[in-house]
């Protein structure tokens, strides 16, 4: 009998956990498994919203991995279109895939993009003992012998990390894009490990993925793909000042379902702005290598439209889509 009571207690405790997740708190869907950028966005923004009192209950994070965010996108469009308590983490990867029709034909106008409050600058990295001392060296070597350099990156072939070196090479007048070797690994840390190990010659990724290795002196960052040098990392030159006019940042932001009212949209935009202005978020950005990049509300939607159009044009030129 005792055992049965214990069992019941246990089961109800487990059920209780399940139920509490479904309570009325706001929900943030991270369209990937724990540990990645989207998960970080949800957990960090959700936690700060609660800490600074922008929401009155802790934001519940749901991980809905699948199809590079496509599963969550379809889920929101098809099943949660008017859910006012729902936010979803998004980034450049979201807009890149939307531009490349990678979400089963879904377009960017099926949800409302609330805003971005930080960006992870793109970087091109080599191991500390690499013969390449500048971006020009690396690009020159590829132009001379395309097969001599393999890039490692954390996104799939045709993804954002893959596009960065291709965009640089295109600006440098190299058009035989398909000859550039790229291997996709399970995340930036894996990609960097392979590069330090000498299995690949360069790594393409985001600043946040390389900060730890940079401080440990294991790598050199050849270029950061921003307009200006990043605060705190002033010694790293931009690609632009080295003569390759490419700006590629991985913004971190949110979208909400299309069917919510303008009021709801504005409430979320206001909350997001509060997070952007908070000291906690600034500390989180500094700790994770994010650069300031705040675009909230209507501005952001038009920014997304521009980005999608640009990426679509580029992807066609690069042969990633038809």
């Amino acid at each position: 009998m005792k055992a049965r009571i214990f069992k019941l207690f246990l089961v109800s405790a487990l059920l209780g956990l399940g139920v509490s997740i479904k309570a009325h708190a706001a929900e943030c869907i991270a369209p990937a498994n724990p540990g990645g950028g989207w998960d970080f966005t949800c957990r960090q923004i959700g936690k700060i919203m609660y800490d600074i009192g922008a929401v009155d209950k802790p934001v519940q994070v749901t991980n809905m991995a699948g199809a590079g965010g496509g599963l969550a996108y379809n889920h929101v469009v098809a099943e949660r279109n008017d859910d006012a308590d729902l936010i979803v983490a998004a980034s450049s990867a979201t807009s890149t895939r939307l531009a490349q029709n990678a979400y089963a034909g879904m377009t960017a106008d099926r949800v409302r993009f609330v805003g971005a409050i930080g960006a992870d600058p793109g970087v091109i990295v080599v191991a500390k003992n690499s013969p390449f001392n500048s971006l020009g060296d690396l690009i020159g070597a590829i132009k001379a012998k395309p097969g001599s350099v393999t890039f490692a990156g954390g996104s799939a072939t045709g993804g954002f990390d893959h596009m960065k070196p291709l965009m640089l090479l295109q600006r440098a007048g190299f058009t035989d894009i398909r000859k550039v070797k790229y291997i996709s690994l399970d995340g930036g840390a894996d990609a960097i490990t392979q590069t330090i190990g000498g299995f690949t010659q360069a790594m393409t990724g985001d600043m946040s993925e390389v900060v730890g290795f940079l401080k440990a002196g294991e790598i050199r960052v050849l270029a950061v793909l921003t307009e200006k040098r990043i605060p705190g990392f002033e010694s790293i030159p931009t690609a632009k000042e080295q003569g390759f006019d490419v700006v590629a940042v991985n913004w971190r932001g949110l979208y909400v379902p299309k069917g919510v009212s303008d009021d709801t949209f504005n409430i979320w935009a206001g909350r997001l702005q509060k997070v952007a202005d908070s000291a906690e978020w600034k500390a989180a950005m500094a700790a994770n290598g994010l650069a300031p990049f705040t675009k909230v509300g209507g501005d952001f939607q038009s920014y997304i439209d521009e980005v999608v159009a640009e990426v679509r044009k580029l992807s066609k030129e690069l042969g990633v889509i038809q």
């Binding site: 055992a3 069992k7 089961v11 399940g18 540990g35 199809a67 730890g212």
Partner: protein, 501 residues
């Protein structure tokens, strides 16, 4: 002595009453989670992460609680392996091979104590290893490129055929089913979906936890339904628990060797605890030879996988803390927790945030002693959870399996998939085809393919690249030997089989 200074810093944090309490609570919750079929360390930790935020824990406390759950679940996994023949989590799979036969022979108590002590030895040695070697071992990951990984996975598959079945052909079929399932999803190299039938849910492939719970827990329920009214294999009697000193002393070298093997397997990114317990079991089985009687319920066959998987759990923390590359599913979840807490794991973590790292190491040591106390003298409490009649237990198992899987992905599709795997498991077991290679195929197949494809991109399709380093060549030699040797030794070796009655 840097280490002693650091360790005393760690203990000064870990020994505060509050932190200590968190460690005890974590151990208790972890053991229960581990013991329940289907709920393993990774979904256990994932379920409990919201708790750390609700409690408003600081970084160190949150880490202490979650790693105590992690270690606890690794201990708990053996309980249902031994008593129910259902692995409580995926690394405890190999504990069923000898643990269940021993329990059926009326020695469930002995099996639990031996495995508890082995878990303790494995986890303790791994924690010490983590402490001493972490900064150094981090560099091992730099030596493993695509060709080395490919050879490593090949080694696992070659030895797999020999261990899982008495019939090599059936094991091979099972491996192929597993590899076939692993091919489902978006192909990483080309970005094209394969075998998905246009279904978005399948774009990321089949989650191996879904497959494991389906093949084991759900299939078990089907078997129960079939044998309804007859004597069930579930509910092995547990009499007085005494300590079988003689056997523990007999297995001391087994535990040490298995800990070393498990620890190394844990350090390799992506390999994790399953490979650790698998390699530990296989090593000991080949050392013991025919006389060892592995698969019939011997102490060594219980000690090896348990020491191996607990050591691997500690080993998996090494790449997670030092490189930010998770060594297993659970460390991936822990990595998420760290990042949420604004701690960036990486080569600098040990110097930047010593209080986090050493507080964590000290509480792992403490948690380990707490777990030994909970899992040996107090093991009956946890066994109670599993001692309820099958008519109540199995629906409970089903429910917890469903909750566990749903909590993992939040997708009803995975629940349907789990039932499909349950049916597959039922059919395979009726045909006497082992299910272990199916799981390992799903677990390793994708990684193995990725490694091969990456090697081919780097080398422009030159096959010799696969033999381009001493490590790769060594692994190839071991793989070929592991494949060929059982054929010649078949007359001498009796292979263990998962008890399916």
């Amino acid at each position: 002595m840097d280490i002693l200074t650091n360790l005393s810093l760690g203990f000064s944090i870990a020994l505060s009453p509050y932190t200590l309490m968190l460690a005890v609570v974590g151990c208790f919750l972890g053991t229960i989670i581990g013991a329940l079929p289907g709920l393993g360390p990774s979904n256990g930790v994932a379920i409990l992460i919201p708790l750390t935020f609700t409690l408003g824990l600081d970084a160190t406390s949150a880490l202490v609680l979650m790693t105590a759950v992690y270690y606890g679940a690794m201990y708990g996994g053996r309980i249902s392996s031994i008593l129910l023949n259902i692995p409580g989590d995926e690394p405890a799979l190999f504990t069923t091979l000898d643990g269940y036969p021993m329990a059926k022979a009326g020695r469930a108590g002995d099996a639990l104590v031996i495995s508890g002590v082995a878990s303790f030895v494995g986890a303790l040695l791994a924690t010490i290893g983590l402490m001493l070697l972490a900064p150094m071992l981090a560099r091992v990951a730099y030596l493993f490129g695509p060709s080395e990984y490919f050879a490593l996975y090949l080694l696992a598959f070659c030895t797999l055929g020999g261990m899982a079945s008495n019939n090599q052909a059936k094991a091979a079929i099972a491996s192929c089913i597993g590899l076939g399932i692993a091919m489902i999803g978006v192909d990483n190299t080309s970005g094209m979906p394969r075998l998905t039938g246009g279904n978005l849910h399948l774009y990321d492939g089949v989650d191996f936890l879904v497959a494991i719970v389906g093949l084991f827990a759900v299939a078990e329920v089907f078997f129960f339904i079939e044998s309804h009214g007859k004597e069930s294999s579930i509910g092995v009697k547990l009499e007085k628990v005494s300590v079988p000193w003689k056997e523990i002393i007999l297995t001391r070298w087994v535990m040490l060797r298995a800990s070393a093997v498990g620890f190394i397997a844990g350090i390799l990114p992506g390999a994790g605890a399953s490979l650790g317990s698998f390699l530990a079991y296989m090593t000991e089985k080949s050392i013991a030879g025919e006389k060892g009687g592995f698969g019939t319920g011997v102490a060594k066959g219980i000690a090896a996988p348990e020491a191996g998987n607990n050591a691997a759990a500690g080993g998996a923390l090494v790449p997670m803390l030092t490189l930010g590359v998770p060594g297993s599913g659970t460390t991936a979840v822990l990595l998420a927790l760290l990042m949420t807490l604004n701690i960036t794991p990486g080569p600098t973590l040990f110097t930047d945030r010593p209080e986090v790292v050493w507080g964590l190491i000290a509480s792992l040591l403490i948690a380990n002693f707490v777990l030994l106390l909970m899992n040996v003298p107090m093991v009956k409490i946890f066994v109670r959870v599993l001692q309820v009649p099958p008519a109540i237990l199995l629906p409970g198992v089903t429910m917890i399996s469903f909750i566990g899987i749903y909590s993992l992905s939040g997708s009803y599709f995975d629940l349907l998939l789990m039932i499909v795997f349950g049916i597959l498991g039922y059919v395979l077991r009726k045909l006497d085809i082992p299910t272990v290679p199916v799981i390992l195929g799903i677990l390793l197949g994708g990684n193995m393919e990725d490694a091969l494809r990456r090697a081919m991109v780097i080398s422009d399709g030159d096959g010799w690249y696969l033999f381009s380093s001493p490590i790769a060549i060594g692994l190839w030699v071991a793989a070929v030997l592991g494949f060929i040797a059982p054929m010649f030794l078949r007359g001498f070796l009796k292979k263990p089989q998962r008890v399916t009655d």
